[in-house]
Amino acid sequence: MQTDDLISLMSMDDRPVDTGWLRRATWLAAFAALAATAGLVLLTLGTRPDLASAWTTLPVIAKAAFGASIAAIALVLFQNSLRPGLKPARLLPFIALPLLAAAGWALLTLAQAPAEQWQALIFGRYWRGCLIAVPLYALLPLVVLLLLARRGAPVDRSLTGACAGLASAGLATIAYSLHCPDDTAPFLATWYTIATAIMTALGALILPRFLRW
């Protein structure tokens, strides 16, 4: 087949192309995945017993805001990474903002507390639960984002994978904050950050092999 034939064949398609679809689909998929993940948390773990009174308190809001800001930044990067010619890697440092904010808050809390309380502040009651639950619940949004990424054209597949991992951890953090009974800043900054790092590494390592095109 000659290149010219191929061009004739391709230029017969006069159906309009929607370049906004990918952006809309990303946000829609993220919201759907968040709703499904939250539903899954409620079904499997249930809410924390005091959610009705606690959901307006700073720690619960902070957990959700932490997850939401990571997810939002990662989703913008993710969506851009599916479009060749944009250089989303330059925006990657923005992800550090919520992480640094949480870390700063945690250090401030520790500095104001006596040293013998540090261990309780950091480990809380259920640090293992957080470390296992967040990555586990994040698998659902991760798969949703993987399916979406296959509809795009990721030229840097590791970056796309890392952003999908980050975003899925952020979404799972919001969902798990309905259950997580540990409310200290050092807990948030330690275990949620580690869980986020786990998902980012997982996404960057595993997803590229499913994203070849």
Partner: protein, 201 residues
């Protein structure tokens, strides 16, 4: 900042290329087939120059090889039109896709991509034009052979016998829209065939 004259000239011609291609591609996205044809003709000349230049640097001088990668790149451009961001240069978009396909091709054919001095500069597209189409090897023809009979016949009629989509559709007993969808699916299947074969080898 001092820019060396040579690079400056290339930047200028890349800008000219962008000014020429962008309106065509935007019209193509809106459904203008003639503009799309002009865009594909212009970009394929540039991409052929870019790809053969880069392949030559990697020690590959066979023209049929560059034509193979070009065809695969064009197919990828076509199937990824929805990933173009209207706020970004269309030359950067096309260059990024060509670069991805080139790196993939080199990796697949056994040469480590690290050996190729791939620079990120899209202005390579503004380099030498190459309008002489070489014969591709058999890659795309083989992909065509792997299509279902009905789709292949449709493509054959349009491509070889120069029939219009409407005529080919009538001959196949389908509507024009259905024929367009079938051709689009055929192109997608050909692209999938190429990337699957790559994974196996």
């Amino acid at each position: 900042m001092q820019i060396p004259p040579c690079e400056q000239a290339q930047d200028v011609s890349l800008q000219e290329l962008e000014t020429q291609l962008r309106p065509l591609f935007l019209a193509a996205l809106a459904g203008d087939a003639a503009a799309y044809r002009l865009f594909l003709d212009a970009i394929s000349v540039r991409l052929r120059g870019y790809l053969s230049q880069m392949l030559a640097r990697a020690g590959r001088t066979e023209v049929s090889e560059a034509e193979d990668v070009l065809q695969e790149t064009l197919l990828a451009l076509h199937l990824s039109r929805h990933t173009y961001d209207a706020a970004s240069p269309v030359t950067a978009w096309a260059h990024a896709i060509a670069r991805y396909k080139l790196v993939d091709h080199l990796r697949r054919s056994g040469r480590h991509a690290g050996a190729l001095p791939l620079d990120d500069e899209a202005h390579r597209l503004a380099g030498p034009e190459e309008s002489a189409a070489a014969d591709a090897r058999f890659d795309l023809s083989r992909a065509l052979d792997a299509l279902p009979e009905r789709t292949r016949r449709l493509i054959d009629q349009v491509k070889l016998q120069g029939a219009s989509v409407a005529d080919a559709a009538t001959a196949a007993g389908m509507t024009e829209t259905a024929a367009k969808v079938a051709i689009h699916r055929g192109l997608r299947a050909m692209a999938q065939f190429l990337s699957k074969r790559r994974r196996q080898s």
